[in-house]
């Protein structure tokens, strides 16, 4: 009767073979793609640097796979509180760069605690709302909103608007998936409708408002804040259907395109590989997210399915915001393109999230199969 009896106890190395092949395949292709684009955009040394980071991130992913899934659930509050502590700490002892204080210096390593909030916040929300086997009531919801708001405000204080938004959204997605009542969603929607104009007037820094305004008319300030958007749109548009060819993108190779290895790496790909190349990239992301959501829906444990689905949907949000800003219809908020951009923290955080997701998905698949029998 119990599903667990069907499968005798496995060793941890045996469990590696039961991760979903589709998801693993897509991520491996994306990571190889990343190395390929970065070689063109930044050169050999940069690519090798990123290679080292990918290896480190894979190690973290494997660690997450080994951990028994019951531990993940139990350790959720610990991870959340630890992350909060780091977010507070970074405001006091953090390293500043470009006007923001986001990093904790650990000698050779630089930690950006806000990146990990994107994982720990939906984990905590899922943990909180699955303590009772029912849809969240009013009190549950309020506490969940507080659990989301505290880290978001801390990240906002660094300041790091992009990550703050993403962290907030990831928590709200988890809350939605846990069965938040539609009435509350509608009320929330109305409140947001009122709040956004207020936020526009009082909540954001001048340079961010300027970025949004130049979005609508980048040519007004071609050498200033409009420069990024203009150059990246030229890069994408001039790529055409088939692209200019690998290492042949004039926009990126002649350095017209700023931040071509980090936030704007998508423009390099679009210029050199054209619509053909970016379509493949979009399809890979689509496959990753849909496969993830599909598998999540078949899980029987609420914590696991809420968390997995949140993670995969956040991957989509992240990609959507990045490509949206690079192609010039969303403001430049400073988010890397997941799995592709040069940089360690975001990659590490999402590989850890992926490890957790693969872990949870794997441990419950036998049940799903049993139902088919």
């Amino acid at each position: 009767m119990l599903a667990h009896d069907v499968h005798p106890r496995e060793h941890w190395w045996q469990r590696f073979w039961r991760i979903d092949p589709w998801l693993a395949f897509v991520v491996v292709i994306l990571l190889f793609g990343s190395m390929n684009v970065l070689y063109s955009a930044g050169g050999m040394a940069l690519m090798i640097n990123q290679g080292v980071r990918i290896v480190m991130a894979l190690a973290v992913l494997l660690t997450m796979l080994i951990i028994p899934s019951a531990w993940l659930i139990r350790l959720t509050p610990v991870a959340y509180i630890g992350n909060l502590a780091l977010l507070v700490l970074v405001l006091f002892v953090g390293v500043s760069a470009g006007g923001a204080q986001r990093w904790i210096d650990l000698g050779p390593l630089r930690l950006q605690p806000s990146e990990f909030a994107k994982i720990t916040v939906p984990m905590m929300v899922a943990w909180w709302l699955t303590r009772q086997y029912r849809a969240p009531d009013m009190l549950d919801t309020i506490i969940a909103v507080v659990l989301i708001a505290v880290p978001v405000l801390l990240i906002r204080a660094e300041p790091d608007l992009g990550t703050a938004i993403l962290t907030g959204v990831s928590g709200l997605v988890a809350l939605f998936l846990a069965g938040l009542s539609w009435y509350l969603i509608i009320i929330g929607g109305v409140l947001v409708g009122i709040g956004v104009p207020l936020f526009w007037m009082f909540g954001i820094a001048d340079y961010q408002r300027e970025r949004v305004l130049t979005l609508f008319n980048p040519e007004s300030d071609p050498w200033g804040s409009g420069y990024h958007i203009i150059q990246s749109k030229i890069a994408i548009g001039s790529g055409g259907i088939s692209g200019k060819g690998y290492m042949q993108g004039t926009q990126s190779q002649l350095e017209f395109l700023p931040e071509s290895t980090t936030d704007f790496v998508f423009a390099v790909l679009a210029e050199e590989r054209g619509l053909f190349g970016v379509s493949i990239l979009l399809l890979l992301y689509l496959l990753l997210v849909l496969r993830g959501l599909y598998l999540s829906a078949s899980l029987t444990k609420r914590y696991a399915r809420i968390l997995c689905a949140s993670f995969f949907f956040i991957i989509f949000i992240n990609v959507f915001i990045n490509i949206g800003m690079v192609s010039g219809f969303l403001p430049v908020v400073g988010l890397p393109l997941l799995f592709i951009s040069y940089g360690g923290s975001a990659l590490l955080a999402f590989m850890a999230a992926l490890g957790i997701a693969l872990n949870l998905l794997r441990s419950h698949q036998p049940m799903a199969e049993e139902e088919h029998l």
Binding site: G42, A70, I73, R74, S96, A97, G98, G99, W127, T130, R131, Q132, Y133, R134, V173, F176, L177, G179, Q231, K233, I234, A235, I236, G237, S238, G239, G240, I241, T250, Q251, Q253, L254, E255, F256, A270, G274, L275, V278, S279, L282, Y285, L286, V289, L290, L293, Y294, A297, T300, K301, R302, Y303, R305, I306, A309, F313, F316, F320, I323, G324, S327
Partner: protein, 630 residues
């Protein structure tokens, strides 16, 4: 709890209906998210289709005409002048050889061939190779930082044979006074990878060095200037063909210091081979006239990038030449704090000027079980002394007895007003605050309570009490200036080339010290005059023959080491046994124009070694042609 999903025993209970309901609701919502994802990807595809297909022609044209490249224009760094307008820094035009990595096929062959034309050291080549590996496309890498005229012409004649190699002009900081001003001015040095992570890239566009220490770092923002840029047209392969527009770089602001190079030089000469520090302030406004720390180093070494061997030699030198003793050195002040202690005694009404203390040559703590004797430097004793004689003859017993009556709390409170134990606020980075001990401080630092013997020690400026030479000069100023406190400062004014005008920083008016008492001040000053101008003063020999009246106080401090972390080497033992010679002074007494503090490490007696040097310094300043006042 067993209803809980994440407990170990879940599912399939009486809530099965409810569970199925939740699962179905979840599946619907996940499906909704999947729908949003698909819609989003389709939307992105639509946007990209619009840019890459519909608008392709438009953007293709723009990308082809997009040949405008931006090259940074490096601003020239502002010059630093002394108070009389003598340039303390120069910017020397140099030519450097740069290589564009993406136009070079065979690096080794290039280095060998260029090596036949230019002398290239192993280090230059190794350095070049590391930076070459890290470089990005179309970014020049410096091969040789500076070529002389002969090399320049020799290379220029054959440059056509080396595509990707170019000679570029660049400015290099030069310090004409060499080691004389290194600690005060600091130096500029190459920006490294770590700096890049913290500084604003817009401010440093094209710049490869920044101020590291001293004034160069303190006023980095003003000195640096603003980088400009040049819009250049390039052909499709990136070669620059035409200048389109230019936003010139804004030259950095010049900085005029209150420093007097003449005086600085004089102090340095007078100190000769002695180690130590000397600070001269103008008591009327807190201007730093001179600030010497010896031994010193040549700041020019750092500009072009010091070699590891040279740096290690400076770093591990037994006398720490890199250490700015004048603002960071922490010395026990010794007897030079006695005038201040005497004023504290008057302030709290413990002694009058006429109160006499008998000095039998030693002191025992009253009502104490300990039989320990604290000795006077004069083992035979001074007999009975009043305050003036106690200061002039530097009797320790008088101050042991005074310190015992004052107690550590009152000493701490009073000395705080003289900037002891806190930074003076001078405009230099990394000033030390010295240590003004208190009960709380000792408990925190040493984890033990305060003993009466600690009070006895600090009452003659020893024990836990440490001060920087700058703090001692500041204390001297406050005494000289009838209790008016100015913040010591080096900056006199800026010169902004953009508007071609001078700009002075806001002047901070002097603050009257709250514990000021005219009678006490007069008595202390009178006693300091007696140090140099009475039959019995410790520095009476120095006072003779000066054509102005000078007030001073000597100190002779037995020390083990000026830095706690330094080990004593056996060969230095004789040297280490020497005392630190201290002296503070101001002159002329009625209208003070200069206040000086000097520390001579391992110099010997304060009045015999430091005092004559300080007298020469003051004499030079008061008679110098530039400084003579009517």
């Amino acid at each position: 709890m067993n209803k809980s999903d994440w407990s170990d025993d879940p599912l399939r209970n009486q809530d099965a209906d409810h569970g199925e309901h939740l699962q179905r609701s979840f599946a619907r919502r996940a499906m909704l998210l999947a729908g949003i994802t698909i819609a989003g990807v389709v939307g992105l595809f639509g946007r990209l289709f619009y840019l890459q297909v519909d608008r392709h022609e438009h953007y293709r044209t723009r990308s082809q005409s997009n040949r405008v490249r931006i090259k940074p224009l490096v601003p020239e760094r502002g010059t630093i002048y002394d108070r009389h307008g003598r340039a303390l820094t120069e910017n020397i035009l140099r030519h450097q050889v740069v290589v564009n990595p993406w136009q070079v096929d065979d690096l080794d062959a290039l280095i060998t061939e260029l090596g036949g034309i230019l002398p290239l050291s192993e280090e230059e080549i190794a350095d070049f190779r590391t930076r070459y590996k890290r470089s990005r496309r179309y970014e020049f890498v410096v091969l040789k930082g500076s070529v002389n005229e002969a090399e320049h012409y020799r290379l220029a004649a054959v440059l056509y044979r080396f595509p990707g190699v170019a000679i570029e002009p660049t400015h290099e900081r030069y310090y004409p006074y060499g080691s004389l001003l290194s600690h005060v001015l600091g130096y500029t040095n190459r920006i490294n990878q770590k700096d890049l992570e913290t500084l604003n890239p817009d401010d440093y566009h094209g710049l490869d060095s920044m101020g590291r220490a001293g004034i160069e770092r303190q006023y980095e923002e003003a000195l640096r200037g603003k980088p400009g840029f040049r819009q250049l047209e390039a052909d499709v392969s990136g070669n620059l063909v035409r200048l389109l527009s230019e936003k010139p770089a804004v030259r950095g602001q010049d900085i005029y210091l209150t420093l007097d190079v003449d005086l600085q030089q004089r102090i340095s000469d007078v100190m000769g081979d002695h180690r130590g520090a000397c600070v001269a302030l103008d008591p009327n406004n807190g201007e730093v006239l001179a600030m010497v720390s010896r031994p010193s180093f040549d700041a020019n070494l750092f500009v072009r990038g010091i070699t590891q061997r040279q740096y290690n030699r400076l770093l591990n030198h037994e006398h720490s030449p890199l250490y700015h003793r004048a603002v960071k050195g922490r010395y026990a002040p010794g007897s030079v704090i006695k005038p201040m202690m005497a004023m504290a005694g008057l302030h709290y009404g413990l002694y009058s000027q006429q109160s006499r203390v008998n000095c039998p040559g030693y002191y025992r703590i009253p009502d104490s079980s300990t039989k320990r004797r604290f000795h006077c430097w004069q083992r035979s004793g001074h007999g009975s002394l009043d305050m003036e004689h106690a200061i002039a003859e530097s009797c320790d017993i008088y101050f042991y007895s005074l310190g015992y009556k004052l107690g550590v709390d009152r000493i701490h409170d009073y000395a705080q007003h003289f900037s002891l134990g806190e930074k003076t606020g001078v405009d230099l980075p990394d000033e030390s605050s010295g240590i003004l001990p208190s009960r709380a401080w000792k408990l925190k630092q040493h984890g033990s309570q305060w003993y009466i013997g600690d009070t006895i020690n600090i009452s003659i400026g020893q024990g836990f009490l440490t001060t920087t030479p700058l703090q001692l000069a500041q204390m001297t100023c406050i005494v000289a200036n009838d209790g008016i406190v100015y913040t010591p400062h080096l900056l006199q004014q800026y010169y902004d080339p953009q508007v071609a005008s001078f700009r002075a920083p806001p002047t901070i008016p002097g603050q009257q010290i709250p514990v000021y008492d005219a009678a006490a001040w007069r008595a202390a000053k009178h006693a300091m005059v007696s140090v140099m101008n009475s039959r019995y003063g410790t520095a009476r020999r120095v006072g003779q023959g000066l054509d102005f009246t000078m007030a001073g106080k000597s100190g002779t401090v037995q020390v083990i080491s000026f830095q706690d972390n330094r080990r004593i080497l056996s060969k230095d033992l004789a040297d280490e046994h020497q005392d630190n010679a201290m002296f503070i002074a101001f002159a002329p007494v009625d209208k003070p124009r200069i206040a000086v503090s000097m520390v001579v490490e391992r110099g010997g007696g304060g009045s015999s070694v430091a005092a004559p040097l300080v007298a020469q310094v003051i004499d030079h300043y008061l008679h110098g042609s530039n400084n003579a006042r009517t």
